[in-house]
């Protein structure tokens, strides 16, 4: 089984974020592995561990794929230290500021060239927060889309993947046949910390670098443009009281004032 895990390096969610020329300033903030992608890496590890592991020369491999600047290799390295076998970084100036359409095109090209069986993603990146890339990859590959999985079962011999997901309409059971794109929610597992052994081993693993030309695709430019971005007026400071037994009445008064009751 060939598993691909798509990851993204993002500005640290705790860092203060700014816009520069209508785009998020990614240069001057700490960059970290998108924390929702750690669940995808962990789930890939659990899937191979349930079916004999991913040791060198074995039947299963996990490849981490990321599109981003050179330093995104740090995030790939972290995934390798959690146990993935190798990485692919697609790095090209033409991809700076790429939107979801371009991102999904690049990732799906790498995935189809690598003939992966199972593609695992997080549900969203904490910076762009669109949650559309996994569905777009499935669309481009013309393959099954099993997103927002809170449980995943893989049957490698039957080439089948089944998931459970919680949606607006209830709890759904779904399945699909290889190749399958899965996205996993953060309830699915508890990502492992890289062990010392894992960190040492990761240093010897290979990260292959590709660009738009080596992928053989063309990038058609932007699909949307930012007209402007502006700071909104700060929220007016609220009224904070300490309960002296009358807080209930004061809440009622607040609701009346806001015409909510």
């Amino acid at each position: 089984m060939k598993i691909a895990v798509c990851i993204k390096q993002v500005p640290d969610s705790w860092a203060e974020k700014k816009m520069v020329d209508g785009l998020l300033d990614r240069v001057n903030v700490d960059a970290v592995l998108n924390d929702l992608d750690e669940y995808a890496i962990e789930e890939a590890m659990r899937i191979v561990e349930a079916h004999g592991g991913n040791d060198e020369g074995g039947p299963h491999t996990i490849t981490v794929i990321s599109m981003g600047p050179e330093r995104a290799s740090e995030s790939i390295r972290k995934a390798l230290s959690m146990g993935a076998n190798g990485g692919i970084l697609i790095c090209d100036v033409a991809l700076a500021g790429a939107d979801a359409l371009t991102t999904s095109k690049v990732l799906s090209t790498v995935i189809s060239q690598g003939e992966f069986d199972l593609i695992i993603c997080g549900t969203e990146s904490t910076d762009a927060r669109m949650s559309v890339v996994p569905a777009m990859i499935a669309e481009r590959l013309g393959c099954a889309q099993l997103t927002y999985a809170s449980a995943v079962t893989v049957d490698p011999s039957a080439k089948k993947v089944a998931i459970t997901r919680v949606t607006e309409t209830g709890v759904e059971e779904m399945f699909g046949e290889f190749p399958v794109v899965v996205s996993v929610v953060e309830k699915i597992n508890e990502p492992r910390y890289p062990s010392f052994k894992g960190i040492m081993a990761a240093k010897k693993k290979t990260i292959e670098t590709m660009n738009v030309a080596s992928l053989g695709i063309s990038i058609e430019g932007q699909w949307s443009v930012v007209v402007d971005a502006s700071l909104r007026p700060a929220r007016a400071a609220g009224v904070i009281i300490t309960d002296d037994g009358t807080a209930g009445d004061q809440i009622v008064a607040f609701l009346v004032e806001k015409k909510l009751i």
């Binding site: 996994p134 889309q145 997103t147 709890v171």
Partner: protein, 317 residues
């Protein structure tokens, strides 16, 4: 005829209020056609539900694939309609399902996509709020048919009653849209409370409830509100995951959000920060949630909430 398509938003078999909001935004741009995707035999019933909001036409497509193949089947049909009707834009509700349909349609129709818009102007400039609502970004689509998802509860709906012209379309769903198969759906328990993302008021409980949501629910019921929860509360199994508010839960934008025993972690705020008013009840005066409160009470939720509930119920009597 120039028109804007909206995807009528059904949660299960129930039309959501977001549909009228989509229509209201769409009507600023051009005449509105609502697309209704229904199970076989349910087309006219579903279409009849689309009776409020500035909608002139309804296109109905019936197929059981919408239930069995979900997002992919809906996107396939919507794209076929886009190809034949050449709309000015397509507006879809911004929830997990709506965004995925939009994403797939954008790929199919080679069009730009904007998600989580909170407003759209007549010339198709979309407003999004980023960085916890502190920054407004205006953008527009420069390629293809603009595909825009609109956050529920962001646009004040024009709820006029309408009798749109209904047309039924027969469409084949492509094989590649049938690759994922839903084998069972267990509907959530009907609580009688409004849906989280649609509710005017959301009352949420966190770790501070210590697993006892009685006071939170009673307060919510006195206000006709939906009940939400922090991840600490859903992880502990105190409240269903489907009620989680936040980055990995639902994004809500009600008239009033009430946070009870919730500290206000960045991931929680990501799902509620654009609420119009925020009321906080927390024991710890240092809790970061107070930074975004319009009205905050430093106190014990178990004594404050019942008194507030009593006060509200007394006013109704």
């Amino acid at each position: 005829m120039s028109n804007v398509l909206i995807l009528a938003d059904f949660i299960g078999a129930k039309l959501s209020r977001t549909t009228a909001e989509l229509a209201t935004a769409a009507a600023r741009i051009a005449e509105v056609t609502a697309v209704v995707l229904a199970p076989v035999g349910k087309g006219s019933e579903y279409a009849a539900a689309v009776s409020h909001g500035p909608i002139t036409n309804i296109l109905v497509v019936e197929s059981d694939s919408f239930t069995t193949h979900g997002v992919a089947a809906s996107a396939d049909v919507l794209n076929q309609i886009i190809t034949t009707k050449a709309p000015r834009a397509v507006l879809i509700a911004s929830h997990a399902f709506g965004k995925e349909v939009a994403g797939r349609v954008a790929v199919k129709s080679n069009s730009g996509i904007i998600t989580d818009a909170v407003d759209i102007s007549a010339d198709l400039i979309a407003t999004q709020l980023v960085f916890g609502g502190s920054t407004a970004v205006h953008s527009k689509i420069s390629h293809g048919v603009p595909i825009i998802t609109v956050r529920p509860n962001s646009i004040t709906p024009d709820l006029r009653e309408v009798h749109p012209i209904i047309e039924t379309l027969i469409m084949e769903i492509g094989e590649s849209a049938k690759k994922s198969v839903v084998t069972s759906v267990q509907p959530p328990e009907e609580g009688g409370r409004p849906e989280l993302t649609e509710a005017d008021i959301v009352v949420s409980g966190g770790r501070g409830t210590n697993g006892d949501f009685t006071a939170v629910e009673a307060f919510a019921d006195s206000l006709g509100a939906a009940v939400g929860a922090s991840r600490a509360a859903t992880d502990a199994g105190w409240y269903p995951h489907s009620h989680q508010v936040g980055q990995t839960g639902k994004t809500v934008s009600p008239q009033l959000y009430v946070a009870c025993g919730i500290s206000g972690a960045i991931q929680h705020r990501a799902g509620m920060q654009t609420s119009k008013a925020i009321l906080v009840i927390n024991k710890d005066p240092e809790a970061p949630i107070f930074e975004i409160a319009d009205f905050g009470v430093v106190g014990d939720l178990f004594s404050v909430l019942p008194k507030a509930t009593e006060g509200i119920n007394a006013r109704k009597a």
